[in-house]
């Protein structure tokens, strides 16, 4: 397939981008009318009541980024302790809490929420809609995420944070070995966060089914949509496992039940099964959308469509399907019969195939494209490299024999950081450089951006590559210190230096963001000359996204002429107007035919109220205040009744407003 004849200058951006008109029309009279319909309450109240997916998306990202920084500071503290043998900077108790909160923060409070933020922001723009299917639920999932994050940190200042690792194995996490409130915070906190994940996921699923522009059939969806959809469906099926496990643990610890107590007929391994039935799909849920970000953004900087769209999209789904059948590979060393282990080992090898397809698709895209060495491109190319390295160490641990040697060593720590930072953090930072112009209307300065990338990439490899060697020589993970005679001192010092260099990269990144916000070049609607729908409008987009809902005819609406695609062209200047109140178009789930007019809710304080009621409820459960819990439940009920309040005068149907 042809590459895009590029009219981009060498810095990779359109020269007169500030003055170009967006492809999607927004005539002033319509704009004023729609602006008036879609505007939200200003001020402090509006801050709490907004239901705009763009605001919520950016909030998700900022909150998740703050958690990333917090988790990073925890990691740096640990690296100070581990920089030399026999150090006494931290006590073992403090160290346990730090590595547990580091894991919980990064995996639960950063990795998925960051991607949910991107998807929240991008989905309606990519799908040609005006908002998500359930705007108030969208606000709710954000407030619940924030509240659950605060809850998980509630005991941190008291020195009683969760200390059982992010997967919190029993019996270590039981009352006998962990009598404090630490693990109760973990168990209740994950149930709490699970509610946020569930409502968010349901919203994505229904949004995909109902909120597409006419003509946006499933073979035209951007890969990020495939990634987030797959992750969301998986979350609906996986999150209940960990919520149940945490409920059982909390009951075991507080009400003497016997789910995990051997003396009472319980099974400690039941925790591991339930946790990893959730945990492994979750690992894919936090990488597939990030891979989607790359699959959509990388080709823009290679000036050609993605190679192998269909295999990559199918591979995304296929990965998740197998992802539900590999959980036992986290439990290879737990004494399960060899036949079962062999099956799960085989499945773990198979799951590398769709990932390899994606990797080859990206490499082919780079190889056959006309690469612009922009900052996003650097991050995406770095990501491909790190993904390969993390993937190779993953294949090693999929082997039973090797895993028995490597499990619970620093080799696994190296592997999981290559995978999670490689496939989540690097794409996310690259995607911020790519979509920052859309979100703010300004470009991020490239020069500092290159320095940022170089610092992060070198720091990352310096920090995590030597861990492979440490693991092979037998250094166990989660140890608070090690003796000088083990010979691990030098490697650990290098790791710690690398960690601080990596952190410096984040300082530069923050500076870069500040630079961009203050005096970045004006971006215009489509600074990268990209093909997808979100670039068809002004940057930042208007409140209502599309004044006229487009009619989509291909996978690359803004490249159709230059790709010489045969057949229809995407229509921007004619289509559904829908300005009879705050409304948008709903389509039939499969064929995407216009089916209904959806009246969108006004901004509302109900979501934040519901989140506060739940926060009070979980705090009451934590400290066993039955009365307070009862009051919170009552408040919850009142909010829900108001939420579902029937409309006093429902309308059957409405005449369609078109722009043509």
């Amino acid at each position: 397939m042809a590459t895009i004849a590029s009219d981009l200058p060498r810095d990779g951006v359109v020269a007169d981008r500030g003055t170009l008109a967006p492809a999607s029309p927004n005539p002033p009279d319509l704009a004023a009318r729609l602006e008036d319909i879609w505007k939200e309450t200003p001020g402090v109240r509006g801050w709490f009541s907004t239901v705009d997916h763009k605001v919520i998306g950016i909030r998700y990202m900022i909150t998740a980024f703050v958690f990333l920084l917090v988790g990073g500071l925890e990691a740096l503290t640990m690296r100070v302790q581990l920089a030399q043998p026999d150090a006494r900077v931290l006590t073992p108790e403090q160290y346990n809490q730090l590595f547990s909160m580091h894991g919980v923060t990064m995996i639960f409070l950063y990795a998925l929420p960051m991607l949910s933020g991107f998807s929240n922001y991008l989905w309606p723009l990519l799908l040609g809609s005006r908002d998500m299917a359930f705007p108030r639920l969208n606000a709710l999932s954000y407030w619940l995420f924030l509240a659950a994050g605060v809850f998980l940190y509630i005991s941190f200042p008291l020195g009683a944070a969760p200390d059982g690792g992010w997967f919190d194995y029993v019996p270590n996490a039981g009352r006998e070995y962990s009598p404090g409130p630490n693990i109760d915070v973990y168990a209740l906190g994950l149930i709490f966060l699970g509610i946020s994940t569930t409502v968010g996921s349901a919203n994505f699923v229904v949004t995909l089914l109902r909120m597409r522009a006419p003509g946006l059939s499933i073979n035209r969806l951007p890969i990020i949509v495939w990634g987030t959809l797959t992750a969301s469906v998986a979350n609906l099926f996986a999150v209940p496992a960990v919520s149940l496990a945490c409920l059982m643990l909390w009951l075991d610890r507080n009400y003497g039940t016997n789910f995990f107590h051997v003396q009472g007929g319980g099974q400690p391994l039941l925790w591991q099964h339930l946790f990893w039935m959730f945990g492994h799909p979750w690992v894919y849920a936090i990488v597939l959308p990030a891979m989607g970000l790359v699959s959509d953004a990388l080709p823009v900087h290679c000036r050609r469509p993605l190679v192998g769209y269909t295999p990559v999209a199918m591979g995304t789904v296929f990965t998740m399907v197998i992802g539900f059948g590999v959980w036992l590979h986290h439990m290879f060393a737990s004494g399960i019969p060899v036949l079962a282990l062999s099956f799960f080992s085989a499945a773990s090898f198979i799951i590398t195939i769709p990932s390899a397809i994606a990797v080859f698709a990206w490499i082919a895209t780079i190889h056959t494209g006309r690469v612009k060495f922009t900052v996003p491109f650097l991050y995406f190319a770095g990501f491909v490299l790190l993904f390969v390295m993390g993937g190779v160490s993953g294949i090693l641990t999929a082997s039973l024999a090797l895993d028995w040697q490597l499990t619970d060593t620093y080799f696994v720590v190296a592997h999981l950081h290559y995978v999670l930072l490689g496939i989540n953090v690097f794409p996310v930072i690259g995607a911020i450089y790519h979509w920052f112009p859309k979100m703010t209307g300004r470009m991020l300065p490239e020069r500092l951006g290159r320095w940022t990338f170089a610092t992060m990439f070198i720091g990352f490899n310096l920090a995590f590559f030597p861990m492979h060697w440490l693991g092979l020589t037998g250094m166990p993970r989660r140890v608070w210190t090690y003796g000088a005679q083990m010979g691990w001192g030098t490697a650990n010092l290098i790791v710690s230096i690398g960690a601080f260099l990596f952190a410096l990269g984040f300082v530069l990144f923050l500076l870069n963001l500040w630079q961009g916000l203050r005096r970045g070049a004006i971006a215009g609607p489509n600074p990268w000359d990209a093909p997808t729908l979100e670039w068809s409008m002004s940057s930042p987009p208007p409140l209502y996204n599309y004044a006229v809902i487009p009619i989509v005819a291909s996978r690359h609406p803004l490249w159709e002429d230059r790709l010489d695609e045969v057949g229809d062209r995407t229509t921007f200047d004619r289509g559904f107007l829908l300005d009879n109140g705050k409304e948008t178009l709903g389509v039939s789930p499969l064929d995407g035919e216009p089916a209904v007019i959806l009246k969108m809710p006004q901004d509302s304080l109900l979501p934040v109220s519901l989140a506060i009621a739940l926060l009070v409820l979980f705090c009451a459960l934590l400290v066993h205040q039955a009365l307070l819990a009862g009051i919170a439940l009552l408040a919850l009920l009142v909010v829900l009744v108001m939420w579902f309040q029937p409309h006093p005068s429902p309308i059957e149907s409405e005449r369609v407003r078109m722009y043509e």
């Binding site: 029309p25 299917a133 359930f134 639920l137 569930t198 349901a202 699923v205 229904v206 089914l209 109902r210 609906l236 099926f237 999150v239 209940p240 496992a241 919520s243 149940l244 409920l247 059982m248 009951l251 009400y255 003497g256 039940t257 016997n258 789910f259 107590h261 009472g264 007929g265 319980g266 099974q267 039941l270 099964h273 339930l274 039935m277 200047d573 004619r574 107007l577 300005d579 709903g586 039939s588 789930p589 089916a595 209904v596 007019i597 959806l598 009246k599 009744v641 579902f644 029937p646 006093p648 005068s649 429902p650 309308i651 059957e652 149907s653 409405e654 005449r655 369609v656 078109m658 722009y659």
Partner: protein
């Protein structure tokens, strides 16, 4: 020059049943709650199959209360479905009756279940069977209670004249949820009461 025009053609607003978005949201809720019961039943089977000793420890539980409770709960689904269809045909009073009767039948189920709980010689904390028995049936009972609260609110709205014929979506959603609660009970019933009789 393009301009805004109003067509003669109309589209439904929100739409009822399957063409409305809430219907799909409820299906997502049912999917995730349904899988929660699958994990609960997995835990029941895991604890039963991996432990030593009898499972259930005192033999299969009696059907004396559970069987009538099952009939009541499943029967209530039919009543509510009839009520939903009555409302669609314009018979709102019949629909209110159906909601009221469903409420009573559901409450009777909860009462029978509660009675059975108090009769049990074991407790939540006595052994792993007690723990999973109460957690499994308790999770289900919690879903019944949530459904009952929803039905009670619907009933009150109906009496206050807030639910008209145009509010089919409200009736459709609560009916769908109630069907789910009833169907999932059949799985719980088979697991707790029937599966021990198979061995």
């Amino acid at each position: 020059m393009s301009e805004a025009r109003t067509l003669d053609a109309t589209l439904p607003v929100h739409g009822q049943g399957r063409i409305g978005t809430p219907w799909w949201g409820m299906l997502c809720l049912i999917a995730t709650e349904g899988i929660l019961f699958a994990y609960l039943i997995f835990a029941y089977a895991y604890l039963g199959s991996q432990g030593a000793g009898d499972w259930p420890p005192g033999g299969a539980p009696a059907l004396k209360l559970a069987l009538p409770a099952t009939v009541l709960l499943v029967g209530s689904s039919f009543v509510l479905e009839w009520g939903k269809r009555a409302a669609r045909a314009g018979r709102l009073a019949h629909s209110r009756w159906a909601v009221g009767i469903t409420l009573l039948m559901g409450a009777a189920f909860a009462a029978l279940e509660f009675r059975e709980w108090t009769n049990k010689p074991f407790s939540l904390s006595s052994d792993s069977y007690g723990s999973i028995y109460f957690l499994l049936t308790g999770t289900h009972l919690a879903h019944v209670v949530i459904g009952l609260i929803g039905l009670a609110v619907m009933f009150a709205w109906g009496l206050a004249g807030k639910l008209g014929q145009g509010h089919e979506q409200h009736r459709a959603l609560i009916t769908l949820y109630w069907h789910f609660v009833d169907v999932v009970w059949l799985f719980v019933f088979v697991t707790v009461y029937l599966s021990p009789r198979l061995t």
